[in-house]
Amino acid sequence: MKRALWTALAVLLLAPAARAADEDAAEQAQRWELIHNAAFADRVLQDAGDAVQIAAPDRALDAALVPITIKLDPSKHIVTLSLFVDNNPSPLVGVFHFGSAISTDQIKTRVRVDAFTLIHAVAETADGQFLTASHYVKAAGGCSAPSSGQSAEILARIGKMQLRRERPLEGAAIPAQLLISHPNYNGMQMGVSGTNLIPARYLENVSVKTGGVTVFELESSISLSEDPSIGFTYTPAGDGAVEIVAQDSTGAVFKRHFDPLTN
């Protein structure tokens, strides 16, 4: 579904989301149907129940930096996870393609939220089921809002990465937070000249491997926050080192090697 999905969803950029504060359940359903049709065509989506659960703060701290946690049931053999902020101009935040080194217990990230909105997660299982969950978030202005004011610093460190990990117990999976410094300009923010919007420049692909084995590949978009953050859990493979390769929409490639954690 890779690129076709993005192409289909680009159309939604032209379809204005309802004014969220006024939005009722029918409008929410209509918006999601639009996204569903564009992203999954004739696939039947099932309610995920406990298999996929979204957590987010009731009151967003900062609409440009809304932390989202998606809890997954590892027994479901989930192979892809798509995340949508329904009322954003570009609803698809990203698609995670899981490799064999990931523990599919939870994924965390930070998103921009442009208007009060449902957030949807769709998990695809190895046996072809599509499980959905949703969560309502009260935040607004995160897409057109100016950048954090740290733009100069962020551009100076663009592509720098951090992998924050907890020391593992012997043989246990390792919870990790990957931070990639990138302005993730979404094309809706005014530049300092004041006459032009800053052209979109955002992370398109993030690949995480350990010892040559894929943890996940993420196709991402403009709804990811500035300085993207991705939380995941992996099981070290091979020598246990972690290799990150990220590419942005200008084609710039950023790579980083992280040594294995030692006890």
Binding site: P16, R19, A20, A21, D22, P57, R59, A60, L61, D62, A63, L65, P67, T69, P89, K108, R110, D114, A115, F116, K138, A139, A140, G141, G142, C143, S144, A145, P146, S147, S148, G149, Q150, E153, R157, K160, M161, Q162, L163, R164, E166, Q177, L179, S181, M188, Q189, M190, G191, V192, S193, G194, T195, L197, E226, D227, S229, G231
Partner: protein
């Protein structure tokens, strides 16, 4: 205040559902209110609309002022034009002013978020009168707020308003600028202010327009920039201007009135109202220390009373910022992240400040974002 009015009343930062429920998010860069008749907050309360009888720059003046300037200012021109058409005949009501030092006047802002009822008069703004001229320090939070301040100047002196000093980018300080364009003053700001106006001006204007319609106001590009220090002479009264590194915002300017030993600290100093962070928590602490070396009899905080003995208030802001930064670092150092910081950071400060829960969460998000890149491995 922070990127400002923001939080509740503006969709920008969204700290709470109150203002937002009725506001909804503005579509990106749409500069007109889609529902002009609609008021978001306090719609049933009486609105104070102080405007000035003589306010009429005329089309040519509008063009001179805005035509050569940026998109944000051009948008402001539209706001002004309709203001001229609709409000020409109405009289401005002068703002109530305190005079903490001779010839130095302060309008105390209310400890609220911006609403239609308070016309965003939430920051401390004012002016200084010399022998030959007047300098306005912060033109106000909306056109209506600016016009009320201007009326207060006119009620006290016939000296010309030669300078309008803008202490930083935030809407509660800058959006009253158009009220003073007719006086043809020199607008003075931090060297980073033009960039900040370009980035945020239209966004702030749009949001304030949603709240106040044509009384919302606009940012005006500064004519004179301060990169380090500068002075202006009002006639026997020299004001020293000082540009600061990223602290409360990215464009903080403070003003020293030597004649009365008064430091106008603007939003480097908050009292009562919880500080809002939109620059750098580390930078703000540095600038406070540098500022503390300043000799002064009194200080004018950006939010709080009209004046305080100097350096009162510094300790409170420093304690808040140190607590915020310290708590956030503790969370990050123990492997936590943004979500984990929310419930713990600066919680010991609750009860010491008003509007705490409206701003502290955003401050935490800003501090986490800043400090997680403090020492990248």
């Amino acid at each position: 205040m922070l990127g400002g009015l923001c939080v509740k009343s503006f969709a920008a930062f969204n700290n709470g559902p109150i203002g937002l429920r009725s506001l909804a998010a503005p579509r990106p860069f749409q500069l007109v209110d889609q529902q002009p008749g609609r008021r978001s907050c306090g719609e049933n309360r009486p609105r104070v609309i102080p405007t000035l009888a003589s306010w009429d720059p005329g089309e040519n003046e509008m063009r001179r002022t805005f035509g050569r300037r940026n998109a944000a200012a051009i948008a402001a021109g539209g706001v002004l034009a309709s203001l001229v058409r609709s409000n020409r005949a109405r009289a401005a009501v002068a703002a109530d002013m305190a005079e903490p030092a001779p010839g130095l006047f302060v309008r105390v802002g209310v400890t609220e978020d911006a609403t239609a009822a308070n016309i965003d008069a939430i920051a401390n703004i004012g002016f200084v009168v010399g022998r030959e001229a007047v300098a306005v320090i912060d033109p106000g939070g909306s056109l209506a707020d600016g016009l009320a301040l201007r009326a207060a100047v006119l009620a006290r002196t016939s000296l010309p308003i030669r300078y309008v000093i803008v202490t930083h980018i935030h809407p509660d300080h800058i959006l009253g600028s158009p009220a003073f364009v007719q006086d043809k003053p020199v607008f003075i700001g931090h060297a980073a202010l033009p960039g900040a106006i370009a980035e945020r001006g239209a966004f702030y204007q749009t949001n304030m327009h949603t709240l106040l319609g044509d009384d919302g106001g606009a940012a005006v590009m500064p004519d004179r920039l301060v990169a380090t220090t500068d002075t202006i002479d009002l006639g026997g009264r020299v004001l020293e201007l000082r540009a600061h590194g990223p602290a409360h915002s990215g464009s903080d300017l403070t003003v020293m009135d030597r004649a009365t030993s008064t430091l106008w600290a603007a939003d480097l100093l908050f009292e009562t109202r919880v500080p809002s962070l939109d620059g750098s928590v580390r930078g703000w602490l540095r600038e406070l220390t540098a500022l503390e070396a300043t000799q002064a009899a009194r200080v004018i905080p950006g939010h709080g009373p009209a004046s305080m003995p100097w350096p009162d208030g510094v300790a409170d802001v420093r304690r808040y910022l140190q607590t915020l930064a310290g708590d956030v670092r503790k969370v990050l150092d123990s492997g936590g992240e943004l979500e984990d910081a929310v419930s713990v950071a600066a919680q010991t400060e609750r009860g010491r400040w008003q509007l705490f829960d409206d701003y502290n969460p955003h401050n935490i998000a800003h501090a986490v974002h800043e400090l997680e890149w403090e020492n990248p491995l």
